[in-house]
Symmetry: C2
Subunit: 339 residues, 2 copies
Amino acid sequence: MSQPISIKDIARKFKCAPSTISRALNDHPAINIETRKTIQEYATRIGYQKNTISLSLLNKQSKTLGVILPTMAHFHESSMVEGMEKILQPAGYLLNICVTNESHALERAYMDRLVANRVDAICISLSQETYDKNRNDHIDHAISRALPLIFMDRFYHAQNLDQVITDDYQGAFLATEHLIQMGCRRIAHLHGPKGITVSQQRFKGYLDCLQKYQLPFYPELLAHVSFSADSAVEATMSLMDHQPDGIFGVNDEVCFGAMKVIREKNIRIPEEIALVGFDDIPLAQFAYPPLSSVSRQSRKIGEETALLFLAKIDGQQENKQISLEPQLIIRESSKKRII
Amino acid sequence: MSQPISIKDIARKFKCAPSTISRALNDHPAINIETRKTIQEYATRIGYQKNTISLSLLNKQSKTLGVILPTMAHFHESSMVEGMEKILQPAGYLLNICVTNESHALERAYMDRLVANRVDAICISLSQETYDKNRNDHIDHAISRALPLIFMDRFYHAQNLDQVITDDYQGAFLATEHLIQMGCRRIAHLHGPKGITVSQQRFKGYLDCLQKYQLPFYPELLAHVSFSADSAVEATMSLMDHQPDGIFGVNDEVCFGAMKVIREKNIRIPEEIALVGFDDIPLAQFAYPPLSSVSRQSRKIGEETALLFLAKIDGQQENKQISLEPQLIIRESSKKRII
DNA sequence: AAAAATCATGCAAACGTTTGCATTCGTTTG
DNA sequence: CAAACGAATGCAAACGTTTGCATGATTTTT
């Protein structure tokens, strides 16, 4: 494997100092304009490519961001990444993307690696295990080394840190309220994985909304699922024994699972059971019937995170908490009456 | 922002040479066992983290892979990434993920940046524009600098390069054959974006299968879509004028779009029109009716790509072309008769 | 007691690039 | 003619780590 060409190689060719080559390539006015041209031409011709590693070492910045995500399988996460790239590519940043698979150990390992790699910041969506075990040493560690750390998507309890999240509580409240307004009185909830803040917040929004409208909360109308459609099948079956007239799902995928079960039981949607999901994935409107959902502007979370980072390295001192407003998108799956 | 602690800082503390610290931290037997322990303890206590950048510079390897993708929005791509991570994380590699949005210019820019960053290899899924414009200089350039380059998912015409792809042709053939065996005689095809090899291969598989079974190809039963469900709506409407009795979609999303149109026209699936998609996304089985699809083992593409890379840096010389066998998953959407 | 072996540590170069401060010219100015 | 100036280039240090070789100190062997 041939070594890449370095500035020193070029210097040897021109019988001059590496500093001259460096300046010539950077169009430094101190270098004779003719010399500059000649060197630049030669460099492009032989395909010289600057070694950014040495630059990172020198300037103590890698122009790279670490991104730690629990998973990438859902539309939500990949949209966030796309949003980040959209802002950060023009700014010259690369992304180191790490998928923890909700494992605390992996999250830790990746965190260490990113720190060792001297990324300019870490954007993290905490893993479920980190919540469960409540082990935050790696987080505190990162904070203590003054490495910009931005919590993305999933809330971290500590006050006053940089966070970009959606108001899940508000979104869940909107969804539940809508079902109530459509006439539902026995609203079931497909509850996300325990311990995950996202699940808890959505459950809380659902609960508080029931209370506001003085509807009782029936524990038998609660079923736990993971975030997959698959997991919703069994959960929904168990719900069916208790005659719900509406279902609020922790995300759209589980609603797809629920709808399948409901259809197979020949129960009509939305007449007998209305449904609202969360995330507004692109396929939501192609469900049968089209699925109402709460959009949380996944792409925008990524964009805002990127912008927050840029502001931060631009000298902005105070930490910022950005909460994006969710939007209720109403489709057939919840239209029990004309609105 | 406090500077991270370096080996030199520790050396100063212990009034010894940096080399001693380095060896101590790496558990080098030449260093007194007691000294080693003391230094290691001190290092962990003050939170020393090795600077991998300097190591990369020294060892001429960054332990990082560049991954260039046209998009991340689909299950297929994020699964590939997850597959890569699964293999590469234990091997100590990080991923630099770049989304080109199918733009040639961005692909070029990212390529340069990754080369400048001295990634150990680049895994690329070519952008549509690169195919369209047939501009491969950046590719040839990378190849000429002996940087391991692995084509992932999308085929590159040059022979004898490293490639990990699915046999799209074969998958399309299987899907079409299945529709024929189910009794379809007027099979429409929702053709993917022009110029993309994936689209072309699937179209070719469809065509050749029709021919094998001596069925005529009706140009009016061809409609072009992007990869989104949305784009399939209009396309399917236009098809409906020509009474297809089966549809083979370039991916699952477009089939969701098609199914919505068909349902709204009160045409029965699969009795009047049978459908088969491609990718076998997790929601396919939750379509109404459950969608038959060709699985292309997205995750496995990522895993194989990672393994190919590992073999490569392990000294394997010859290039390898890996083609993964697609699998037809039969569900309700195509079951016109009992099988 | 001298030679040899063992142990622990230090020196310095290397990786590729940038940059403040010389240095070496040749030219202009008083 | 000397002093000052300007242009073009070179020197060397710096970033953080590793590693072959040398050095010095102690112990073992003959």
